[in-house]
């Protein structure tokens, strides 16, 4: 058995792990979450927008 990768005995366990992953993201410090937000903004800029909402990648290095 290769322990290098996670294994799940059933789908419920996988969903539980997924939920836990999101919970852990929520526990990150606010500063870290803002860094992730900026990454999300950069990623989303690569896709066309169907709304006329303002889209600016935030400047956080100040």
């Amino acid at each position: 058995m290769n322990n290098k990768y996670p294994s799940f005995s059933n789908i419920q366990e996988l969903f539980k792990a997924k939920k836990e992953y999101h919970k852990n993201l929520a526990k990150l410090p606010f500063e870290e979450k803002i860094k992730i937000l900026v990454k999300l903004q950069k990623l989303a800029m690569g896709f066309p927008s169907h709304s006329n909402k303002i889209r600016i990648v935030w400047k956080i290095d100040n």
Binding site: K19, H22, A26, K33, L37, K53, I56, W58
Partner: protein
């Protein structure tokens, strides 16, 4: 972002706004996993409360003098679009009054408590609000007594319970 917060804090210090709290997506990010947003919503209690027309010109004047540009309903403060939203009902007013201080890079920022954020989202009830309410309930600790009291006070209990029942189906 630090400079942006400093400008907002200055508005409060200068008495242009009485009190503010971060709302919307950024208030959510304080408590839940990061969600995509491009603007910083600032809910605020104006210094002068007048019935009828809401005068937001003092905020715009202050920012214009500092050289910040406007883009539609936003003021771009250090490359972050900020939208100033005066408190528009009693729930939002109480939410701002009861806001808490959160640290960002060693400076304080006022933010809504999660219980007030949930109640406001129950009131606005857009699709993104519904998704965020679920995340709030799954990912952060909320004071259930406080939440129930707020919901009861603003007649949102039934709407909340119906939403919770439907999301559990």
């Amino acid at each position: 972002m630090k400079k942006t917060i400093e400008v907002i804090n200055e508005l409060q210090k200068e008495g242009i706004i009485r009190k503010y709290a971060v709302g919307g997506g950024i208030a959510a990010i304080i408590y839940i996993e990061p969600v995509l947003t491009y603007d910083l919503d600032i809910l605020y209690i104006p210094e002068k409360e007048e019935k009828g027309l809401i005068d937001i010109s003092p905020i715009y004047k202050f920012c214009e003098e500092k050289g910040y540009k406007f883009e539609r309903e936003h003021i771009i403060i250090n490359e972050i679009p900020v939208q100033f939203i005066p408190v528009y009902n009693k729930l939002v007013q109480e939410a701002v009054e009861q806001s808490v201080e959160v640290e960002y890079q060693n400076i304080s920022i006022n933010a809504l408590k999660p219980e007030y954020s949930i109640a406001i989202m129950i009131q606005t009830f857009r699709q993104k609000d519904k998704e965020r309410i679920i995340k709030f309930l799954e990912q952060t600790k909320t004071d259930q007594n406080l939440l129930q009291n707020i919901l009861k006070k603003y007649d949102l209990e039934e709407k909340y319970n119906r939403f919770i029942d439907s999301s559990n189906e």
